[in-house]
């Protein structure tokens, strides 16, 4: 049977229906909410399709320690000794706040025109469904899959995949594979998939300055130290005005890009104007433009304030000196920065600058990871993608973060990102959506990749 016959028959209504089943379970990992429920629903969907599926745990007696992983597997009957592909995805989502900015309810999966709205519609329930649909179509039309396929669907990606390395180590044999297809991939403004070979690392911290034991009338501000001021002053020592991180030795392990990598980055197109229009901004940080944009996204560390809170934030005026002030910061890391080492440097920086009494918590860290650009699967997957999308882009690293390092280093296999997340689909933001045409196209792309690998 020719692959083109199969992919003309994708049941898009079934795909949307399965996606809605998952969106409706508000599996917010930041709040440890409905995680096992969502994992069980995925097991159910996998079984309905004909995939062996089970929940696996780090320690069954300590279920609450880490959310379970959905493990799925289907062997090729016709080619059991052939290649194995492992699909890595996640069933958890980002918090939905701020709720008042959602046009549609975040946990409904409402379809409007070519879009399905909801938290996780793209990231990552939509992407997961494209992988499942691809398998479903092989089974439906051939009664078999042409390669061995495994699924690892975790529940802590949005909070930093804190247990993924333990899971991979524990289930190393079960997870044996030739290739990992990563959980997502962007589609750019010209409708081309971006095939990404790496992910930045992350260090996520919370810093809290502690003041008086309760909020105080602000007339005492001449006497009592204000923790919000202390936090502002500590923060102002972390980066300079152009965003450069000032922590000592922060950039010490940053690996220089090779000439080949630089050339590749410089060839990556980037539509500055669409991005500016999408976010209503006039210029980029430090006026960077052209080739420097992709270079920054790929290879520059960053220090971002994700959240800031202190004192009275309601309507009107309240004259208090707050009892505490907190900030959440995410630092993106590039090879070969180590999140644990960077955390120690940050702590030392605070101490050395007179802010040793600010409490600092390492919320999580992930190491940056990259697959070699010369790995033969890179070319193969690009060719498969081009058959469906006409064109594609290779990126040496995504600007985002994921636990790629753990797969590359423990399973010793390449990890390649490809998916159908339109670049402006508002992941992590209100009104997240997935484009239905891209869900369909991505399913076709995954089908093509599976087919091409089976013939390789």
């Amino acid at each position: 049977m020719a692959i083109n016959d199969i992919i003309s028959e994708i049941d898009i209504n079934k795909l949307i229906n399965d996606l809605q089943r998952l969106i409706k379970i508000s599996s917010v990992s930041a709040r440890k909410q409905n995680l096992e429920e969502c994992a069980n629903e995925i097991v159910k969907i996998m079984k309905e399709i004909g995939i062996f599926a089970e929940l696996i745990y780090l320690n069954k007696n300590e279920k609450n320690e880490a959310p379970p992983i959905v493990y799925g597997e289907i062997k090729s009957k016709s080619n059991p000794n052939g290649k194995t592909i492992l699909f890595y995805n996640h069933y958890d989502v980002q918090p939905e706040e701020p709720l008042d900015l959602w046009e549609f309810k975040p946990f409904e999966g409402i379809v409007k025109g070519n879009k399905i709205f909801g938290r996780g519609a793209s990231d990552d329930k939509g992407e997961l469904i494209t992988r499942l649909s691809a398998v479903e179509y092989f089974l439906k039309h051939t009664g078999d899959v042409p390669v061995n396929i495994k699924f690892l669907v975790e529940g802590e990606e949005e909070t930093g995949s804190n247990n993924i390395s333990n899971y991979i180590n524990k289930y190393k044999n079960k997870l044996k594979t030739d290739l990992v297809i990563w959980e997502f991939g962007y589609i750019d403004q010209k409708e081309r998939p971006i095939i990404s070979l790496g992910m930045k690392g992350l260090l996520y911290v919370e810093m809290t300055a502690i003041g008086p034991s309760r909020d105080v009338h602000s007339s005492l501000a001449v006497l009592i130290e204000n923790p919000a001021w202390k936090l502002v002053q500590a923060l102002s020592t972390l980066v300079n005005k152009d965003g450069t991180i000032l922590v000592k030795d922060w950039h010490k392990e940053v690996k220089k890009l090779t000439e080949e990598e630089v050339k590749m980055i410089e060839n990556e197109p980037f539509d500055e104007e669409s991005l500016k229009k999408e976010y209503g901004i006039k210029k980029f940080v430090n006026n960077i433009s052209g080739k420097n944009i992709k270079k920054a996204l790929t290879s520059e560390p960053s220090c971002n304030i994700s959240g800031l809170i202190s004192g009275y934030t309601g309507e009107g005026a309240k004259t208090i000196l707050p009892s505490k002030a907190s900030v959440k910061i995410d630092f993106r890391l590039v090879p070969d920065m180590d999140p644990k080492l960077q955390f120690e440097r940050l702590k030392k920086h605070l101490e050395e600058n007179g802010f040793g009494d600010i409490q600092i918590t390492n919320i999580h860290g992930e190491s940056p990871g990259r697959t070699e650009i010369n790995n033969p699967y890179v070319k193969l997957i690009q060719e498969s993608a081009n058959k469906v999308f006409g064109d594609s882009i290779i990126s040496i690293s995504s600007a985002g973060t994921g636990p790629m390092y753990d797969f590359i280093n423990i399973l010793k296999v390449p990890c390649i990102s490809i998916g159908g997340t339109y670049i402006f689909s508002r992941i992590h933001s209100p009104n997240e959506y997935a484009r239905i045409d891209l869900l369909e196209k991505t399913t076709k792309c995954i089908i093509t990749i599976i087919n091409d690998i089976s013939k390789n």
Copy 2:
């Protein structure tokens, strides 16, 4: 009838009951909540006592423009051409947040032992009740008041008394008086009333840095300017580490203290250790101690962050670049700083430091005001207070803010603060309370002041 006979018969249960009636009306001016309801309840209580009472407006056709003022008046039958005392108080309260830190419901007026808990229990419903009770006892026991008495109870004190100068100007004749007794007065740790002759001014602003049109995935932090960083950087230019305000010409109009004032301040006792214990702090800003504490409270301008918010402030981690960041700042002003002029200087400071695109709103301003220390009423009131409390302290200015400037400058009369707010009664904070013994003692003190002025 001897004054001692009267003051031994204060009906404390009636006083508590009246105070509870007011606490139960959550008249939060920051939210324009239940203001007219509370004003009407005060009119009712005044009428029950036998005081003429009405609501007065700035412009009756634009009722919503400013909350009404409760005007109360009772002429002395025996001494109609004698002195007039105007009691200035307010019926609005600070917001009750953070709600979860209240041990008792903030709008109930629950009595436990010697304390009555609730927002406004001290500031300023408790103080108002002591004035009303004093009048009530004269009427009950003599059928008359020995001096003419007026009341002005406003509804915007906690949001900066934005309309008080217009009110005083409009009703200048109605409000004619010889003396204003201010709305509150602290009782220090040694149970002495602090008779304060001045109030600091205030400039309350909100500054908002605007970023992308919506929250963005923080992987774009290398490209898109983070408004939280911009706000932090702008804030870090406002004060240095020891709290000195760095805005150009900020201190230009600050009036030097006279030798007499300095001597008076240096004589003011201050219990450092109680304050530190109360708020769980180890040391004061810049390690100030001894005489410098009262000097700072009385005569130093300050710049206090009351509130700070940006991005994700919930549990766990969310990797976003926020769309905006806001801060609320209150600047305390001393004679002869002008809030409007200081606001212009602040705006110019932001512009000149590269933060001209940060939105800044002048939420309100109040000028600092002081009554001369040699005014004869100062001595008279201190002597009256000493009869009840045994001892008292004269302070040239409170560290707090109120519209004293408007009374002093429009009505051309002295304003003197005396009241029964225990220094740790948590005004503006969760679990605000009033000490019942001090409500009773303050009533006695006000009775004594009225009596002594009538004989003067």
